[in-house]
Amino acid sequence: MNFKCDKCGQPATIHLTEIVGGNKNEKHLCEDCAAEDGITVKSNVPISQLLEDFVLQTTSAPQQEQPAGPELTCEVCGTTFSEFQDTGLLGCPNDYDTFAEALEPLLEKAQDGHVQHVGKVPHNIGRSQKRQTEILRLRTELKSAVTAEDYERAAELRDQIKEMEQS
């Protein structure tokens, strides 16, 4: 149904329903008349705002959903979810999997409901995926070797990573 603006008769694009004292009152306005009445429609939410809202949402009520415990941390790069919330930046490719559950609602909002890539795919996808996973695994091992102060193993792993990156 096409409504006309209550004020000027132009096609109305803004429809308001007010309920005052139990009485329902409907208004139909065009954008210009609505603006004159001081009614602005927030038709677009910038991505930075979405991120901010998302961060507020997840930080203001974390206790209800997440039991207290160690924070979600990427085992490859050490980035924590709250660090991501602070900077808006992820630490490494593995974060997308580590934080998948928390990230997906954000992606869905920021990307207009989409979470599945349908664009270009690297030509060497098979090789690339395999090597990617392998390098990430080696990096994780390297990290534990360093933590365990096993420097011999760490040097070995470092060489392996270098070799794989250069091949």
């Binding site: 790069c77 630490g91 992606l107 990307q111 979470v115 599945q116 690297p122």
Partner: protein, 351 residues
């Protein structure tokens, strides 16, 4: 080729008169990529950032991507050179002002620039004159293919190309079209354009200055989403549906001004040309706004004092870093105002 060679002219993308050039200045396509198995830039220790920079610099320069390609070590460059790169749209301001190891490769005609170690490891950018998005996407794709032969990029079967900020994930594609909208601005209809952009899920911002009060009447429109559609779908939607809508708004506003306020418009254009012809000192802001009026007047046939490509070029060459590079010295704002006015007068006299 070096940076200093660039300062006498604008890049091809700005000088040229591509499709829809009365309203569309340029089309830009940017692809963000990260190396697989490597932390994103902000998580790389400095040593690794330096290593990455070296490796990517080598591969880019040996890949023979474009004629006359050269590399600028942005971290080692002086302030003026960095500012020059920003004025020429070859690097982002963020890239110019960072402090870690980083660089940019630029093709001889400046239609391609590849930022190394920006927010993502690689940001490959293609610039074209006028509305030429599918062409620019095809070129960006060619560069990406060439880079893919050198590197494995971080890719996820669900989320696509992985980027440091999730707002770029998927295609890693950012399309930006620079529009000249003096008609809408004069008619006081920029608010409507901003609302329309919002409804179409587009980001719009003034190229100089902020929000609707951007100076110089130049606006950049970009996609806000990067996931869920293919690169070609994004480009087609932009060039066939979204951008033409803005071109149409602007042309209608110009026609209305011509029909209803011809004398006012002619007066405005004549005064702008007269000021540019006679000023002995002129600020960057005033230059922007007067050149913008002159560009409008030229498009509407109200003045033929200078052709469009010469006007476009002046927008660039009159900016602070360009003036100082051309004169090979640091200048105070007052000195710049004099040199700027001289340059404009000379170019106008040359017709």
């Amino acid at each position: 080729m070096t940076l200093a060679d660039l300062t006498q002219h604008a890049g091809e993308w700005l000088r040229g008169a591509g499709p829809m050039h009365d309203v569309v200045i340029s089309s830009r396509v940017r692809l963000a990529r990260n190396l697989a198995g490597t932390p994103f830039l902000s998580r790389c220790p400095r040593e690794q950032q330096a290593e990455l920079e070296q490796k990517m610099r080598q591969e880019i320069l040996s890949a023979e991507l474009a004629k006359g390609i050269f590399y600028v070590d942005v971290a080692a460059a002086g302030d003026l050179d960095r500012e020059l790169l920003v004025e020429r749209h070859l690097v982002s301001r963020q890239h110019a002002e960072a402090s870690h190891p980083r660089g940019v490769a630029v093709s001889g005609d400046e239609t391609i620039s590849i930022m190394v170690n920006e927010e993502d490891h690689l940001r490959m950018q293609v610039l074209r004159s006028g509305l030429q998005l599918p062409e620019a996407v095809a070129d960006a794709n060619r560069i990406d293919d060439a880079m893919e032969r050198c590197f494995d990029f971080a890719f996820h079967s669900r989320y696509g190309y992985l980027t440091a900020c999730p707002t770029n994930v998927g295609t890693g594609l950012r399309l930006s079209v620079m529009l000249h909208l003096p008609g809408l601005k004069l008619a006081g209809e920029m608010d409507k354009a901003f609302r329309a952009a919002g409804d179409m899920r587009l980001a719009i911002r003034g190229l100089y200055g902020e929000g609707t009060e951007a100076s110089g009447d130049f606006f950049q429109i970009s996609n806000q989403t990067t996931l869920g559609r293919s690169e070609n779908q994004y480009a087609e939607e932009f060039s066939e549906r979204l951008i033409p809508a803005f071109i149409e708004y602007e042309r209608r506003a110009r026609k209305h001004l011509m029909d209803e306020q011809n004398a006012l418009l002619e007066d405005k254009v004549s005064r702008a040309v007269a000021t540019l012809r006679s000023a002995k000192m002129i600020s960057s802001e005033e230059t922007m706004s007067l050149l913008s009026v002159m560009r409008l007047g030229t498009n509407l046939g109200l003045t033929d004092d200078m052709d469009l490509s010469a006007i476009n070029e002046l927008f660039l060459l009159t900016q602070p870093a360009h003036l100082q590079k051309i004169h090979r010295r640091d200048m105070t704002p007052q000195e710049r105002a004099q040199c700027r006015a001289d340059m404009i007068r000379r170019r106008l006299d040359a017709g």
